[in-house]
Amino acid sequence: MHDFIWIIPLMPLLGAIINGLFGHILKGKAGFIASVAVLISFLYTVRAFFIVMDGTIIHNELFTWIQAGDFTAGAAVLVDQLSIVMMLVVTGVGFLIHVYSNGYMHGDRTVGKFFSYLNLFLFSMLMLVMGDNLLLLYLGWEGVGVCSYLLIGYFYEKESASKAGLKAFLANRVGDFGFAIGIFIIFSTIGTITYAGIEGQVDKLMAAGVVTSAALLLFMGACGKSAQFPLYIWLPDAMEGPTPVSALIHAATMVTAGVYMVARLSFLFVRSDVAMMVIVIIGTFTALFAATMALVNNDIKRVLAYSTISQLGYMFIGVGVGAFAAGVFHLMTHAFFKALLFLGAGAVMHSLADETDIRKMGNLYGKIKITALTFIMAWLAISGIPPFSGFFSKDEILAHAFLYSPLVWVFGAIGAFLTAFYMSRLVFLTFFGESRVEPEVEKHIHENPPVMTIPLMVLAVLSVVGGLIGIPAGLAYLWGGENHFANFLSPVFANAASYSEPHHISHALEYGLMAASILIALGGIYLAYLMYIKKAMDPDAIANRFSGAYKVLSNKYYVDEGVEAGILNPIVRFSQWLWHFVDTRVIDGFVNSAGKIVWLLSLIARRVQTGYVQHYASVMVVGVILILAYYIFR
């Protein structure tokens, strides 16, 4: 039953195939087809949402994909509360971004190819969130990896873009390495890889003592995909891709796959405190680490990229401390306002002839009012100003983090402060203050076409309203409501909740924390206001005073160069040595020397053929003598 569910992933796949094969013919209409495909799957997702709302979980198997020995993996779909939320986000935001791309990619030579990749990405993402076993999760995982590789490297004629694409794929692949080993451990211990199967036999995993290693390895896969600390290096470079790609893939959907995985396997992660602690540590560290880098970056998209990494850190803190619902809630709200921020940045770049350096912007508020207004709403949301969505989701994570350990809350708060500061810096430098735009560019700054601004507006509404559905219980208690979002997701996390003891926050503590986070947010904004609008404190002066720190930050802690020198070059040099020395000299050496030895022996043998007849005669006579000698002495 519910066979219609298969339409949701297959429509984008169909769109991808059509655009892929006939893209060059369709030219302009390719965008339209792609958007329609996503719209259809969005509508069906809404229909599925209502089915799931009244409690029925859709499970439908099309055919057994792989069956060999005792390993079986079915091509089956499981749509429960968690996946329907993700599907709504993916298809909803995806649809808006598709519409936006029609405008943004207008006039691109191979627009068919672009939309084919975009649809293929949506198909993979939907398979990722809808699959009922780890193998389908892995299929979606690598599928989105390839699509991000293709889309980042879309402007393949730019050397940097193709390099960034490759870097992204390899970094993801390193993560997938851990993910794959995690699957192997789980399969070899309990023989099944479906979520239901794992949930049922999780105690067997506990008994075998592999829960921690499996959880950590799976988390390694999540780090690769959601750009957490060791494997985040690819996300800033991924900004080489077109902006709608950054919005869809590197803000709203793909990067959240890691959080989805941890949430989906909550019953597994919860059972290993070590793993949870590692997740929290890495989440906190990444949040702070990325925020610091965002402070000094001058490229509008890279700032947003670092902020994404930072916000993902928060989500991981959320799931790390066991508040899975809070983590997913922040994921959803983040998808809205971060997608909006990126699309806004795209609109700004579009109207400033693809200028990305915020030092060459300023005072755009008057000229592109709609983009500015929507951007400001998203800014307020991300900074955590009530009643915007960001406040509720981030605050709930911080509240649970406080219960986990106050230290985490402190770091979280610092992170929130930095977030508020660098976002305000971004907004002030872009939209307010004096205009630093080059004169000829300034002349034809124009508002973007409606096909781009309408999605901005819709996303703006979502980032404002989005927070209301998940108002933390403490606040909702005031007027008798409760956290609808958390309740909606509770059945999915029932197993995890039952295992770990429930956290109960006293209302007083919650209000205190909320007040604190509001103050922090306002503080961050006010500091940025002082520095960039009122020029009370000259940012350059501070930069010179802490020149050492500033240089390190602006060079992204030299991580890229470190990875390059520390890992990549040694491997390449080692392979060179392997090839030139081991392969050609040693192994081929043996092979060729075998030939040479035969040649040398023949050199000696050659001496016998002197050409003198007498020599041959004398050798014959010696032969005769030997024979006779044999007869004599026999």
């Binding site: 003198y612 007498q614 004398s618 006579v621 010696v622 005769v624 003598i625 006779l628 000698a629 004599i632």
Partner: protein, 184 residues
């Protein structure tokens, strides 16, 4: 010392001296003549062994025909005396000497071993060496080898004629001569 024994030693010494002459004398003509002397000595030996027919045929074929051919060719090619002393001559002399000693010792050992001492055999006077007995067996039992021998001789002659007449060698030598003329 019976008369036969004296004859034997006379012929033996002649044969060996001839052999040495053939081998050691630098001038090919002299060595050819020494060979003729050996042939006569051997004929004598055959007679001692009652091989009369063989002796006569030996002299006719070898001394008569083959040596004449040799001398003819030596004269035709005006073969110079062997002057080159160094090179292979030097080194090979000792090798040859060594081989000679070894070989002849071994062969004679066989001779000694079977017929020496009590088993000593003396030469018997037999009739088999005569023309009559050879002729009888040659044309009864061994008529086929006899005919084949004739075929062999025919082919040898044809071969010799062809070799000396072959156009290839003639042109080759003409060409060589032409080249030499240009050089001078």
């Amino acid at each position: 010392m019976a008369i036969e024994e004296i004859l034997f030693w006379f012929f033996a010494v002649a044969a060996v001296a001839g052999g040495l002459g053939v081998v050691l004398h630098p001038n090919p003509i002299k060595s050819a003549l020494f060979l003729v002397m050996t042939f006569f000595a051997l004929a004598g030996e055959y007679i001692l062994l009652m091989g009369h027919f063989v002796a006569i045929v030996h002299i006719a074929v070898y001394a008569g025909a083959i040596m004449v051919l040799f001398l003819f060719v030596i004269m035709l090619l005006n073969v110079p005396e062997e002057t080159r002393q160094g090179g292979v001559w030097g080194a090979m002399r000792y090798v040859a000497l060594g081989l000679f000693v070894f070989l002849s010792f071994q062969l004679s050992y066989f001779g000694f071993q079977d017929f020496f001492g009590d088993k000593q055999q003396l030469v018997k006077e037999t009739e088999i060496g005569t023309v009559e007995s050879i002729g009888m067996s040659l044309f009864s039992e061994y008529v086929l080898p006899f005919e084949i021998a004739s075929i062999l001789l025919i082919t040898a002659m044809v071969g010799a004629i062809y070799l000396s007449k072959s156009k290839l060698i003639i042109e080759e030598s003409k060409k060589k001569k032409a080249v030499e003329k240009e050089d001078h």
